[in-house]
């Protein structure tokens, strides 16, 4: 099962090779075994069992709900889940139980999905390592992979005492780890500046950030409303396409979802790239790009060319300012979005009764970590009357230039862009925390936040392993609302790479699931 795709599991459920309760139990025991990765904040053991039992009943009656019926999924803990605690990994929302489901969560449940639990993240999604959570950092399962251990066994840096693990990426690190380690088939992340793609890349899974406006944000606790989108993490591009089909479409509760009906699609197995024009934005060779990633990127460009695609160098001239622009707009919206957390209606409330303002202030001091408070402070600075034009409005103007860069390139005949997802592979935790959160985010999000600024879709696909045995991903950026084309290219690339999934170096009890997977696969 570890490594089995959603599609394979769904087929196995349908032909009776698997039953939902069994699948649930396997995932649950794997979650427990991999507890040390800290991927889950809250495992919804009982609710999930009930859901699996109901799915089982439906299968017995021959009336499964949809493609996701009986499929274990996980959801980032910044999506509201009815009757399940939703914390955003913050003291502020510890104990907060939403009375409603986010639209995307509801859509998964309507399809019969089994919600295994809520995954860990940087507090309120502010970070790129999944290291800034009140529940502790998420560990990248590749730290415990055969591949990583074997590569580094001769090195003195690898110890057996669990001190040398690498970060999962973020902020949807928990979701990426949940998928990568096999505890669920698909997970929801959110993507504001790369928060889905970055951890997907570091954990060796596929991560899609859909076009802004395609998937509802209702119930997603916002970071930056004008850039947030629910992200999809899965083991393969086909699975991402399946889940996108479930999630996409207008939601009357989110005025920013477009009203055009979404046409679901399945991707053919034979994909022809000969008529494809792939742009290589030269600015994405940014300072700090690892030679391995560069090499991988170059080779992929060659590979596409060799397969008959037209590969052209293009320019997105404002790329280098994008991360700065993102920084200003993000903190400004954060300052605004975080204003509702005051302890009055829900969430943490400080034990201060001197005055409303004193209570608010103490609540916010106790409830938010330094990173969140720092961004609130910066954001308020940029929104001050005397700074609004100089910083906020200026950033909005630069944002238009960045968005226009994409429009121009796509107008020139380019279908998709090929870029690195991150500068390099995942950093060891001890190294990562040497830099402050903002500096780290600027480095980690450098290739990903541009797509959020422009609202266009982007997907990261695992492409290979670094010399340290850690996953590296490449990113394809597509045109707005052209997910089908984007995912087709991604699937083609995925097939060429044949990325070998994570293999834990220690003997985990559930290894037998891997074996079963090959049995089932042979049935398909």
């Amino acid at each position: 099962m570890l490594g089995m795709s959603l599609r394979e599991a769904a087929a196995a459920l349908r032909c009776g090779q698997l039953n939902p309760i069994e699948l649930y139990q396997k995932c649950l025991s794997l979650i427990k075994e991999t507890r040390f990765l800290n991927a889950y904040i809250n495992v919804a053991e009982d609710v999930a069992l009930r859901q699996a039992t109901e799915a089982e009943k439906r299968f017995r009656q021959g009336k499964p709900l949809g493609e996701l019926d009986g499929i274990p999924v996980a959801v980032k803990d910044n999506f509201s889940t009815a009757n399940i605690e939703t914390t955003c990994a913050s003291q502020m929302l510890k104990g907060y139980i939403p009375p409603y489901n986010a639209t995307v969560v509801q859509k998964l449940l309507d399809q019969g999905a089994v919600l295994m639990g809520k995954t860990n993240l940087d507090e309120f999604g502010m970070g790129s390592g999944s290291t800034d959570s009140i529940f502790g950092p998420v560990k990248n399962p590749w730290s415990y992979s055969k591949q990583y251990r074997e590569k580094n066994s001769g090195s003195r840096t690898i110890a057996d005492d669990d001190s040398d693990w690498v970060i999962a990426g973020g902020s949807s690190g928990g979701s990426a780890v949940a998928v990568s380690s096999g505890t669920c088939f698909v997970a929801l992340g959110s993507d504001t500046g790369g928060s889905t793609r970055n951890p997907a890349s570091h954990c060796g899974v596929v991560g899609l950030k859909p076009t802004y406006g395609l998937v509802s944000r209702h119930g997603l606790i916002p970071l930056v409303n004008s850039m947030d989108v629910p992200g999809i993490l899965a083991r393969c591009v086909d699975d991402v396409a399946t889940v996108l089909g479930v999630l996409a479409g207008h939601d009357p509760l989110d005025s920013t979802t477009i009203q055009d009906p979404f046409q679901t699609f399945t991707l053919p197995d034979d994909i022809d790239v000969t008529n494809l024009c792939v742009g290589i934005p030269k600015e994405y060779h940014a300072p700090g790009l690892s030679t391995e990633t560069l090499s991988l990127w170059s080779r992929t460009a060659d590979l596409l060319e060799d397969a008959g695609a037209k590969v052209v160098e293009v320019s997105l001239p404002h790329t280098r300012y994008s991360i700065v622009c993102y920084h200003v707009l993000c903190t400004a919206e954060v300052a605004s979005n975080m204003a509702r957390f005051d302890g009055l209606e829900y969430g943490h409330r400080a034990n201060v009764e001197d005055s409303t303002e004193a209570m608010y202030s103490a609540t916010r001091r106790e409830g938010f970590n330094d990173v969140v408070r720092g961004r609130i402070l910066s954001g308020n600075f940029f929104l001050l009357k005397q700074n609004y034009e100089k910083y906020f409005l200026k950033a909005q103007k630069v944002r238009r230039l960045i968005a226009d860069d994409f429009v121009k390139v796509f107008k020139s005949g380019v279908d998709v862009l090929l870029t690195p997802t991150t500068l390099g592979d995942a950093a060891p935790y001890e190294d990562f925390i040497q830099e402050d959160n903002r500096t780290r985010s600027a480095q980690e999000d450098v290739f990903t936040q541009c797509a959020n600024m422009a609202g266009v879709p982007a997907i990261t696909v695992p492409a290979g392993l670094s010399s340290r045995g850690l996953p590296l991903g490449l990113q394809f950026i597509g045109q707005a609302f052209r997910e089908q084309q984007l995912l087709s290219v991604a699937k083609w690339f995925e097939k060429q790479m044949n990325f070998c999934p994570l293999d834990f170096y220690k003997h985990l009890e559930n290894r037998d699931i891997c074996q079963r997977k090959s049995n089932i696969a042979s049935l398909l």
């Binding site: 060779h285 170059s298 590979l303 720092g374 103007k397």
Partner: protein, 152 residues
């Protein structure tokens, strides 16, 4: 090497023959440099400014770190001023050309005060309860404003 056996295989099957992408469309050197962050003269963060912001935003640091953190954020943002934006309209929303969804005037929510009040830490009858209002925050001890100060 980064190349895994499986991947190496697929390079070959794709007819990969180039040597290290000498003709690659991917530029082999960085196309830009990170400029050192400099503090613009008119964007110096003072302790008084921090105090003002902390009162507006109701968050506080009460230490020198807050000043430094904000100064660094502002310095970073100042790079924006290298971009010429003359004649460029600000972009609020990537959906600016799409019509806003409009809701019909129908009542479909509400009547859930019990559920909502359950989420609150303090309620009286059917009201949320706040401490007394219209009382400004007390002036804080000014020590940190002048010197390094320590986290309180």
């Amino acid at each position: 090497m980064w190349v895994q056996k499986t991947i190496a295989k697929c390079w070959r099957t794709a007819g990969f023959t180039r040597f290290l992408s000498s003709q690659s469309k991917v530029p082999q050197n960085p196309t830009w440099r990170i400029e050192p962050e400099t503090e613009a003269q008119d964007s110096h963060v003072t302790p008084e400014l921090i105090d003002h912001l902390e009162r507006l935003a109701l968050v506080d640091f009460r230490n020198q770190e807050g000043v430094q953190r904000l100064q660094s954020a502002v310095n970073f943002a100042n790079q924006l001023h290298h971009v010429n934006t003359d004649g460029i309209e600000p972009l609020d929303s990537v959906l600016e050309d799409r019509a806003l969804y409009i809701r019909g005037d129908e009542v479909t929510s509400g009547n859930c005060s019990e559920i909502l009040l359950q989420k609150a830490k303090s309620v009286v009858e059917d009201y949320f309860v706040a401490p007394p209002g219209n009382i400004p925050l007390p002036q804080k001890e000014n020590e940190y404003l002048s010197t390094k100060g320590e986290d309180i």
